[in-house]
Symmetry: C2
Subunit: 211 residues, 2 copies
């Protein structure tokens, strides 16, 4: 886990990120990245097997940041309902902020979400795991009723996907809509359901690749 700024992989990623922010993902190529670092482009291929791997790594980094953001709420000491609500709201705002502050990186992320279902499946799995932890804690604390934790975590993820999926967030933003009120309402509904308890999967709950 060494994340020195001198790790060549990280330096490449940071340079790439900088170029993408300035000129966009479409106009950034491997030669440019190498040039910005004072190297020949083939030096890059010592550390990444392809251009796609560089771009994927940037998207993966974004996902990791979000997972870290979410993780804070899993570890926090507060009622599960509060943590769940705060987690989802934070992720939503993070996506919105990224769209506004860093549109080129958002566009890259959005593209990769569309063409790399496997990366998304991993991300969804990780996030669902975090949700599961909060739900389990909520049950342990007596806040929530009984439930099939895996099914419930997947259901919570699905119910909030529309507030976190970059394509939906972007569509809402372009239409000039604020999704936060809707998010709060869905949260009210879901928390009501969780408190009522007896949540079971309709069958074995599969993994879902969306998000």
């Amino acid at each position: 886990m060494e994340s020195h700024a001198s790790d060549p992989r990280d330096r490449i990623l940071e340079t790439a990120r900088d170029l993408i922010r300035r000129f966009g993902g479409a106009k950034t190529n491997v030669v440019d990245i190498a040039q910005a670092m004072g190297l020949s482009h083939s030096a890059i291929y010592r550390h990444f097997r392809s251009k796609a791997e560089i771009f994927d790594a940037l998207a993966a980094a974004t996902m990791a940041e979000e997972a870290a953001l979410a993780d804070a709420f899993v570890k926090a000491d507060a009622p599960a309902a509060e943590r769940l609500a705060a987690l989802v709201l934070t992720l939503h705002r993070s996506k919105r902020a990224k769209l506004a502050d860093d549109p080129e990186m958002h566009a890259l992320y959005r593209r990769i979400v569309e063409e790399r279902p496997d990366l998304i499946a991993d991300y969804a799995r990780r996030m669902t795991g975090l949700l599961r932890l909060i739900l389990a804690d909520g049950v342990a604390r007596g806040e929530f009723g009984t439930m099939d934790l895996d099914a419930a975590a997947g259901a919570v993820r699905d119910a909030f996907t529309v507030f976190i999926h970059p394509a939906h967030v972007e569509a809402a933003a372009k239409a000039g809509l604020d999704q936060e009120a809707g998010l709060q309402t869905v949260m009210g509904l879901v928390l009501g359901g969780l408190v009522a308890g007896s949540i079971q999967g309709g069958a074995v709950q599969e993994e879902r690749p969306d998000e």
Copy 2:
């Protein structure tokens, strides 16, 4: 509301649909449609102002079919919870079936969903209205607790978007996943929340363009 097969507009739409099914939306042009009807292409322009209008009308027809499908559950005489569950499940299965049986028309629909937020907003509005009717009935019957109907209907729509939005349904299908179990679980959660009641909007609930 005359829908004779002899209405020229309908005949054009049916011909277009047939060609799209056979050769795909990309390879179907106005000249082809006219040719298939034994007309010159300019005759088509007596009835449609542009090619886009033809394609949009096909998507709108699909939306109307779904709205009709949903409407049956609004009018049915059964507990609101049952009707709500059946409505959402039916819409989900309808999208899945379309994807499997009519992939070219599904692709066209998916494309239009992406590039015509206004059409989608209308569709979402109509569907949300239907959901609202069921919710109102549920409250009247004493099945559900009190709620801000507009906010609740929007929240239900948002929570199930992932099971009905063509992009999500397609992504799940491509990954070989069945979404029905997840849908049932979300439904359990949402119904729990609706029964518990006291659902309010976080603020004034805006219209949402997704779906």
